[in-house]
Each structure stands twice: as structure tokens, then as C-alpha cells.
Symmetry: C2
């Protein structure tokens, strides 16, 4: 194996991005605005300010400013775990015997175990900068809660995490990481909020849901002076912060004269995919370059490939603004046998619009095939990938195998969003041969879509 | 915060070491030879070859060759997760308000979560190269077993891990990582070996011990054609492979003109400390430079600070060769409230000799103080450290606080051996305020030392 491209490309600190890139500035068809759940009119800054901190409201609503400066303190924090490596998957290429050149941007080398930290530190910073006392959020699997706890621990900001009760009980390790970083972690539903108490009264034994945890976190934020609510995906602001992934990738590739033919990312709410593709999509929108861009979602939660492009509630509690997006309906829940994340019923409005306009392809994959790819990747590239990330691995391997058939030397870039250290129950299922697949029927999806709000 | 030294120094791949450094070549007083348990005579290559593969036997017994070439395939594997970053702890320095300059070499950015992979790939490589079919080993907490599984998975070598039964049951996640990499993991004691069956017959409900697991792994290796036994610490060969930690550190520091005043490492069997200090200690032994070198061990398992320098068995089963080392007696077991690793009763013969000759200092720390340091480190530097590594963090913080008092601008280098993602039960104890300390009494240690073999 001789080559000029190293196994891992690390940028120098001076080469790291100093601005985030706002993809919306280059979109001709802007993402549809959020609507107030009460009036169905576009939300204003005033509508959002009780929930989100001021600077983040600006970022959320700004479709025009192309570059946002990354504040120095956030850049310093980024230096603790960034630049993340752009890895040439030499070992995987050799294992597959493919002429394709495979690269991945690895975002798992931090204690949160994922890319979520990129936005968590930004959101916590703006809250601190506004003189706020703390933030609230919800977490299911725990990646986002961990990332936010780390950011708040660093800045000395209170962090209240509502963790879906069943996860709280089944994932004590995630909970303890958050506590170690100083967060308070409350199993949801809880008796600390009106909505929690109401749900507990109606369903005494419930294990909770993400929708309920969101509602509790929002209530806690708006009812506690000096607190705001933060969210780890879906929102425009989150995709803005996550653009650091794509910007670093592009700088590293440009440095070595590498041009990807295709860019592949897993897609749940869209935070990773939106960040990874941002500068490449910018070139594509401006007509400067072309890239094949592929979103990979679970067959059990196929919002892009089988959902409807429509206004829908962002939360199952229906208290948050409405977003226009590809959605399976806000009540959609993937089958309990679905192991990883990527279980959100909708998709970022930005990505939904780009997909609707034909700039992105989408495909769905079944989880046993995903874990097969994850295992192969672990054994050849040495990293135990998160189930979420493994959706992108699956698609990248499939594309590399197509190249093997055709002889094409395509250059593939995919996003390896994180590690699977806290997902080993799912790996155990796969190792034991007891993992199954689940694909919702058309009737399942139709039933869920019946509850869409009636907005054109 | 302005500085010329970056937060993280990564070597280029061309700068990575091409040879391991054998510290023994520069020692005037060589480490005492291993003795046969049957004859009490120094072991020969022939004695060791049924247990270890041939090249490793050579490395184990060679006190003279200074540099060993790192085979290309191992260097390629290293490139998947190395170079590891040398990190300037700017945030910790600021938090402590110390004039000290603190650096740490971080070995946790790989799926095994520790430095153990450096020797695992070497040992697996030589086994594969000798045409062997597989290797056996034992694991307690699971770091070593995970590292070996990863190396064997990569090379396509069978890997049989005997995992202490109580860990097997309490740490299903560690077990599943190993299985994902293709290892077979057997709870020990098991009915697959004579020694396991005997122990099960005598103690039907036992949770097992590391000593028993070692005995089973050795029996499985010597009784199965094409298999050898491998070990993750203590041995000379392991310290040789781990020298890559110190070599990379020194190259990075030399590149930026940094000279450490003191080097701090945690010490259990000695694999990390021996590797971290190797090239620095070489200069010290050759009279070219001086460094203060500090081994940090748990107060609950204080082999250097309270043990005896004598020949002792390396395993509780007393089937392995005898080593001259600082030891608490091969039957010594730290109290069950001891949370982390570093629970080996003895210490690498190389480090024991250097400590005996005054080249190394040693100190012991209590675990609540260790976790206090771990939590502070996590919140300021963003990395959740392994309990083992946190012993070194504790000592580094203490030294930095001394500098704050005296105003000295000392440069401190410590080894951050790994991450604590699989040690969250211990963190939970600390977070709950239920963690306690334990220091063995003099009588405890005297009683354990009564069973030393009678060898001068």
C-alpha cells in the first residue's frame, strides 16, 4: 500500500474554519418559514424569543447572510476536539477490492461520541453570552444530552435534561456521563412540570416518549426565569453550526486536490447531513460544481423516501411551531425493534426543500444490513460505529461495490457521525442473530399522515 | 489566550516512529531474568516457546538490542488510530490558574479506549506471521481483551478471551465489543479447561478471578495446536511495544522545543508508564538529560510504595514464570470497593529495577481524590478519563497547584491512557457520593507477602 494521501488528514488549527456557512443564502427556493401553532402565520423573532435565546433566533430566521463568524470562545472549544480527521479508508477499500476511493469524516472522537457537540457548544455559548442561567433540553438515546452537558459544564451554565424514562432506566451510563458534566437529568414524564404531571396522572406506568420530554423541556424553559430551550437537530441554526463538518472536509480535500463524486450521510432530523454537505451543496446551487448527494434513512422511519412534503408539527405534543418538511406524521413511531437513532418523524426544512427540488437523492436501508456493514467496518477500519452512522457506511459500501462491478474509480465521501459505545444492546442483538427488520406498511404511514394539520 | 503551541500536536505520518525503543539496552542494572517455576533457573527461549510466539520470546529476552524495527503492517495499522495527539491542557491550566504548562499524551481515541492496542496489534501480528491459528488471553475490566479482539479481527486471527465471570456478567457491553470484532468470549472459570473444571467443582458459585482466567488462557494456548498465549502488561515485550507512546511524545515535544520537567504516569502492571517514559528515561540513563519521573498507583494496591522487591509469581495460579519485581504477594487482592484497574499485585521488572535504582519516584493516591480530579478534568478538557488515567491526572493537578504556590513554570507531561466510557458504574458511585476509600493495613500486606517464594 503506497500512497500520497495519508490515512488521516488533520487540518492545522489555523486552517480550521472561522465562519459557519449558511446554506440558505444560496438556495433559490428558501425553506418554508416556521408557522405559529396558534395562528398558522410565520413566526416572528418575538414569537421565538421566550423559547430560544436571541442570537439563535436571529440565526434561525436569517435566510440571507451567507457566513456567520464563529465566536473566539467557540473556536477555542472546537480546538479541544476538532479538527476531526478526514480518513482515507484504505483498509476498507482493500477489503472490498474496490477501485473506489473512500473517505470519511469522523466526528466521534469526543466524549459525547458524535457530531452533536458542534451545535451544543454554540447554543450554550449564546445562552451564556445573553446572561442566561441555564438551558433545558430533552434526550432520548442520550447523544445530544451528553453533548449539551459537556458544553454547559465547560461554560458553567445550568443544564436540565429531560430524558425519556425508559432510556433513563435502560441507559444508566449515558445518564452518568451527563451527571459527571454537572447536568441534572430528570426521567420524563416527571412531576416537575404541568404536562409531566398530567401525563403521569393519565398513564401512571408510562416509559415516556421524546414528544413528552420535549414538552416538559419547553415548559421548564419558558416557566423558569433565565432559562431557554435548546434542540439538537432539525432547526436551521443547528444545520448552520454543523456546517463546520463540511467546511473542514472541503478544506482538507482541497488541500490534497481531492474532489468527491458523491457525498453520503445518514439522515434523521438532518443535522449531520446538512452540515456535511453544506459547502459542496453551495457549489452545486451556484452551478460551480456537481456532486451526487445521498441521504440514507432507516427503512423503519422513511421520512424522505415515503413521507409527505407538508406542514407538520415538530413535536408529538404539538406545542412547537409547524415546519414544512418531509414527514411521516408527528405521531409516527418506528417499531420498537428499531435499534438506532434516526427515529424522527420529519426532516429539516432545508434538506426537505433541497430534496423536493432534486438536489439530493434519498434511499432507505434495513437495519440488519446496516449492522452487517457496521461489523465489517469495525473489523477493517478499527472504529465501532454508531448505528446511525452505519446507515451511511452501508450506502458507501454498496456504492463501492458497484464501482467494483463497473470498474469506476469514484471518490466517495461519507459522514461517520459517531461511535457505538453506548449502543451495545443493539450490537448484542446482531451478534446473537436475533435482530429483525421492520418496514411500515403503506397503511401504517397513511394512518399516521391523517393527522397532518390542514395547511397548504 | 494567545499561544504558539497548538491545543493538539499531531505528527505527520512520516514523522511517526519506525522503530520501538528497548529501554533495557541503556540500563546498567538489567531487569532480573524470569525464572522457571519448576527449577527456579532463568527461563530459556525453549521454555517460553510453547506459551509465546517465537519473535515475542526473542523480544522478551533481549536486553541489548536498542531499536526494534516496527514491521510495515503494524505501522499501517498504527496509522488507523495513531499518531495520538499530544495535547496542551490550556483549559485545565486556566481553571487551576497555574503557571505550570501541562501536556498530556492521549491514547484513548480508539475503540479499545486505551493504549493497549499498541501492543495487541504487535503480538497478534507476530502470531499471524508465525502461521499460528489464534491466540488466547484473559481480561478483567476488558480493555486488553477489546484491544486484542480488534487486532485479531483485523488480521483474521482467532481470538479466545477468558473473561472473569463477574465482569462477563456485569460488563455485557465490553463483551459485545469483543464479539463484534469476532472474538469468542468465555466466562471464567469455565468447563473448557481442566483448571476451570477443577475450580468450578471446588467453588460452584464463584465469580472467578484474574488469576484463574490467566491459568485457563495459558492452558487453552498450550493444549491447542496453533495457539499461543498473549498478555497485555508487565512483560518486557509489552513495554517495548508501548515505547511508541513516549517516542511520539518526544518527537512532538522536540518539534516545538518543549522539554518536560516532569513526566507522570499511572502504574498498574507498568505498560503505559514504561512506554511513556522510555525515550526520556533513555536520555536520563545515558546522562544526556534529567527528568523527574513519577509513577502513580492506587492507595488500595500500592506495589511500588508499600510492596517488597523480590521474586514472585506473576499469576495467582502460580503457573507462569517468576519475576523479580515490587510485589504485594501474588494472592493480594485490592478491596472490592476499588473501582478502576491498576489492581495487579506486582510491577514490570524493568520499572521495578529503575525504581529500586532511584530513577523513578512513586506515590499513591486514594480513589475519591482520583475521581475528583477526573471530574474536574472532564469538565475543563472535555474528555471523560478512565479511572486508571485519572491517577496521573490527580498527580499532575497536584504538581500544577504546587507550581501555583511557588510560582514555578514547570512543564508537566502526563499520560492519559484512555477513556472511561465503560467505567460509569464507578462514576455513578462518585456522583452519588457513595464512593469510599480503602487503604490496606500493614498487617494485610505482611500477610500477603508471607507467601512469597523463597528465592534470593
Amino acid at each position: 500500500m503506497t500512497q500520497q494521501i495519508p490515512y488521516k488528514i488533520y487540518l492545522n488549527e489555523e486552517e480550521m474554519p472561522k465562519t459557519w456557512y449558511n446554506l440558505r443564502a444560496d438556495m433559490k427556493n428558501k425553506p418554508a418559514p416556521l408557522l405559529s401553532p396558534a395562528t398558522h402565520q410565520p413566526v416572528t423573532a418575538e414569537d421565538l424569543q421566550p423559547v430560544f435565546c436571541d442570537e439563535l433566533v436571529k440565526q434561525e430566521l436569517d435566510n440571507d447572510t451567507r457566513d456567520f463568524e464563529i465566536p473566539q470562545q467557540i473556536r477555542d472549544f472546537y480546538k479541544m476536539y476538532r479538527p476531526s480527521p478526514l480518513v482515507r479508508a484504505y483498509c476498507l477499500e482493500e477489503k472490498l477490492q474496490t477501485p473506489a476511493k473512500i473517505y470519511y469524516k469522523f466526528e466521534g472522537n469526543n466524549t459525547s461520541g458524535s457530531h452533536k457537540l458542534n451545535s451544543a457548544i454554540a447554543q450554550a455559548y449564546y445562552a451564556k453570552n445573553q446572561g442566561l442561567k441555564g438551558v433545558t433540553t430533552e434526550t432520548g438515546a442520550g447523544q445530544w444530552g451528553t453533548a449539551l452537558s459537556m458544553a454547559c459544564g465547560y461554560l458553567g451554565l445550568d443544564c436540565k435534561v429531560y430524558m425519556v424514562k425508559v432510556s433513563y432506566e435502560q441507559k444508566p451510563f449515558r445518564r452518568e456521563v451527563m451527571r459527571t458534566y454537572g447536568a441534572s437529568v430528570t426521567p420524563s414524564p416527571s412531576d416537575t412540570t404541568n404536562v409531566g404531571r398530567a401525563i403521569l396522572a393519565a398513564h401512571p406506568g408510562t416509559g415516556g416518549s421524546l414528544g413528552c420530554a420535549i414538552s416538559e423541556a419547553v415548559e421548564a424553559a419558558v416557566s423558569t426565569p433565565g432559562y431557554r430551550y435548546v434542540l439538537g437537530s432539525v432547526l436551521n441554526q443547528v444545520l448552520l453550526h454543523q456546517s463546520v463538518i463540511g467546511l473542514e472536509s472541503k478544506i482538507a480535500m482541497d488541500k490534497y486536490g481531492i474532489k468527491p463524486d458523491m457525498i453520503i450521510g445518514c439522515a434523521g432530523g438532518g443535522s449531520n447531513l446538512g452540515g456535511l454537505i453544506a459547502p459542496f451543496m453551495g457549489e452545486k446551487l451556484r452551478g460551480e460544481a456537481d456532486y451526487q448527494i445521498i441521504a440514507v434513512e432507516p427503512a423503519s422511519c422513511p421520512s424522505l423516501t415515503r413521507g409527505k412534503f407538508a406542514y407538520d408539527f415538530c413535536d408529538t405534543g404539538m406545542v412547537c411551531p409547524l415546519a414544512k418538511m418531509y414527514t411521516l406524521g408527528s405521531g409516527f413511531m418506528p417499531s420498537p425493534n428499531h435499534a438506532g437513532g434516526l427515529r424522527y418523524h420529519g426532516m429539516s426544512s432545508i434538506l426537505s426543500q433541497l430534496y423536493h427540488d432534486g438536489y439530493i437523492e434519498a434511499r432507505s436501508v434495513e437495519q440488519t444490513k446496516v449492522f452487517e456493514a457496521a461489523q465489517l467496518f469495525a473489523r477493517t477500519e478499527g472504529i465501532l460505529p454508531a448505528p446511525e452512522s452505519s446507515h451511511a457506511i452501508r450506502a458507501a459500501i454498496d456504492e463501492a461495490l458497484k464501482c467494483k462491478e463497473t470498474g469506476e474509480e469514484k471518490t466517495i465521501l461519507f459522514g461517520l457521525t459517531g461511535t457505538g459505545y453506548f449502543d451495545l444492546y443493539a450490537y448484542a442483538n446482531y451478534n446473537d442473530g436475533t435482530m429483525t427488520d421492520y418496514i411500515p406498511t403503506d397503511a401504517d404511514i397513511e394512518a399516521s399522515l391523517k393527522n397532518l394539520p390542514d395547511i397548504d
